[in-house]
């Protein structure tokens, strides 16, 4: 929500949920196999929770200055910040340049991808974790 415009935020989320339902129902009605149908999640709220859960990063790098050099030190993220980052990334992915698609349509697709473990947001999280892994040698600078 920006500038306190809750009505706008609400209407965008309503349209997003409608798009998610349409996409998932199309997949659902396209298969007749009951096993595959059981795997498709139709509830948009459930998908959203799963998407946020999947895109939460648990480590990030922060600059710490020791002895005249600035090191990028991997550091754990608090629970609240994890969720905030996940949501922010999902929204940014929805806003990315695609002139034909409305925001709520692209946002819906990003949520579905993230819930499935694919897509831009998951990629961003994985790259962040790789950077942290690469810099693990500097981890002790957090306390020295």
């Amino acid at each position: 929500m920006r500038m306190g415009k809750k009505e706008l935020a609400r209407s965008i989320m309503d349209k997003t949920f409608m798009t998610i339902k349409k996409v998932q129902l199309a997949k659902y009605y396209n298969t007749q196999d009951p096993e595959e149908r059981a795997k498709i999640i139709l509830n948009p709220l459930e998908l959203l929770h799963k998407a946020v859960e999947n895109s939460k990063p648990f480590l990030e790098t922060t600059p710490i200055k020791r002895g005249g050099h600035t090191y990028q030190v991997p550091v754990p993220i608090r629970e609240n910040k994890q969720q905030a980052l996940a949501i922010k990334w999902l929204i940014e992915a929805g806003k990315e340049k695609d002139d034909d698609m409305r925001f709520f349509v692209k946002f819906g697709y990003e949520i579905i991808d993230a819930a499935n473990g694919t897509g831009k947001v998951i990629k961003k999280k994985v790259e962040l974790h790789k950077r942290c892994e690469a810099n693990r040698a500097y981890a002790h600078y957090r306390w020295s």
Binding site: D14, M18, K21, K22, L25, N43, P44
Partner: protein, 401 residues
């Protein structure tokens, strides 16, 4: 649990005496809810009537959904605004086209059946609150008219000609008048899709020669489809073709060569100034100077026989300044009232308690309502209360839940 709720609600209503059929289909529910795989994409349950022919729909099917065959749906409704846009989008998702059978629809059907086609044309005006189902009833009358071999003149949504008009050009044949080109071509294409078979079968021919310009002529005695095709290929003459087609159909119906059903949604838009319709000098064109409006108003007069005129007046068809009331006298203004008076008014109200629960059942069966609390008793009552039983509000609520 929701099954019990439905039975409790239904008991208070007068059940039809011949309830054998409904009992059988109730038993069907017990089977269908238990079965996991059903190969057909169609919905099944006690909210669904198995009748697909609109001629046979009667009080037995009141408050239940009937489905329109896919081929007929493609022919009559898909390209054009035959049904409202949100409904057509839902049909794409649900993979089927189901319409609720409501009392105003059955009343209208009975009136149309009882009409004497040898007498001057009767006008039916559907009115009611915003989003109460007028366009849906009008749309389903098109299906009925098609089955009963009426020629359909279906003007789906008049604001497409007023607020959202695509192109206005000065008329070549009438002094001071303006034509809609793209709108008229669209209308003629859809008229052709809806009525081509019937026109060929009835073999209706033009009564005189029509000269569109120095070199283009439609001869006397050629099939009416020739006028339609000329209009489609020459957008400049499209509105004139439309007007001539209407005059021809009126004359032919009066001579009992065919039956015509005129359906128009949002007719009150024709009588108001529209600031979006501008001439070449960027000044607003008044409604009295538009050929298309004249053509449509000509259709609604009572100077012909052998047909029926079904029309809706909708507050939403007008600009925001003119939305004080939903009643016909206010919406039609003096000019419209004089044109339409006398008419048969049919009020379309919000859903009854049974109808709204049936719609919720249908959404649940098609898996559109995903909220876990939606199928509980409290959830249903909440939806009913929040939507004030208005069909459109219910649809908007269910879109995101």
């Amino acid at each position: 649990m929701f099954r019990n709720f439905h039975f409790r609600a239904v008991k208070t209503f007068a059940r039809p005496l011949n309830s054998k059929k409904s009992l059988k289909s109730e038993n069907k529910l017990f089977c269908s809810s238990a079965s996991v795989t059903s190969n057909s994409q169609e919905s099944s349950g006690f909210f669904k009537a198995s009748e697909t022919n609109p001629v046979h729909l009667n009080e037995k099917h009141l408050g239940r959904f009937y489905s329109i065959d896919n081929d007929i749906y493609q022919k009559l409704y898909v390209q054009y605004h035959g049904f409202p846009l949100e409904y057509r989008e839902q049909c794409k998702v649900f993979r089927e086209q189901c319409v609720l059978v409501r009392k105003p629809y059955l009343d209208l059907k009975r009136c149309v059946d009882a009409m004497d086609l040898k007498k001057p044309v009767v006008r039916f005006v559907l009115h009611g609150a915003d989003g109460s189902g007028k366009s849906m009833i009008l749309g389903s009358m098109a299906h009925y008219g098609y089955t009963k071999e009426f020629i359909l003149i279906h003007i789906p949504w008049i604001p497409l000609w007023t607020r959202y008009c695509k192109e206005i050009v000065p008329s070549t044949t009438r002094e001071g008048f303006h034509d809609h080109t793209i709108n008229a071509v669209q209308f003629l294409t859809n008229f052709k899709t809806q009525n081509a078979e019937l026109l060929q079968k009835l073999n209706l021919v033009t009564s005189k020669e029509y000269q569109w310009s120095k070199r283009e002529v439609t001869e006397q005695g050629s099939n009416l489809l020739a006028i339609v095709e000329h209009g489609i290929s020459r957008p400049v003459h499209a509105t004139e073709c439309m007007y001539t087609l209407f005059k021809e159909l009126k004359a032919q119906s009066s001579e009992e060569k065919c039956k015509t059903m005129v359906l128009a949604d949002g007719v009150n838009g024709l009588f108001y100034d529209c600031k979006w319709i501008k001439g070449a000098d960027r000044k607003m064109v008044p409604p009295s100077n538009l050929t298309a409006y004249e053509a449509m108003k000509d259709l609604f007069k009572t100077d012909w026989k052998g047909g029926v005129v079904i029309v809706t007046v909708d507050r939403i068809a007008l600009d925001l300044e003119f939305r004080e009331s939903t009643l016909p006298r206010y919406l039609l203004k003096k000019e419209g009232w004089e044109l339409f008076d006398p008419f048969v008014p049919i009020e379309v109200t919000n859903y009854t308690a049974q109808e709204i629960q049936t719609t919720i059942d249908y959404y649940l069966e098609r898996k559109w309502l995903q909220h876990p609390a939606a199928s509980t008793e409290e959830g249903r009552l909440e939806l009913e209360y929040l939507s004030t039983r208005n069909p459109r509000t219910l649809m908007e609520l269910c879109n995101s839940r």
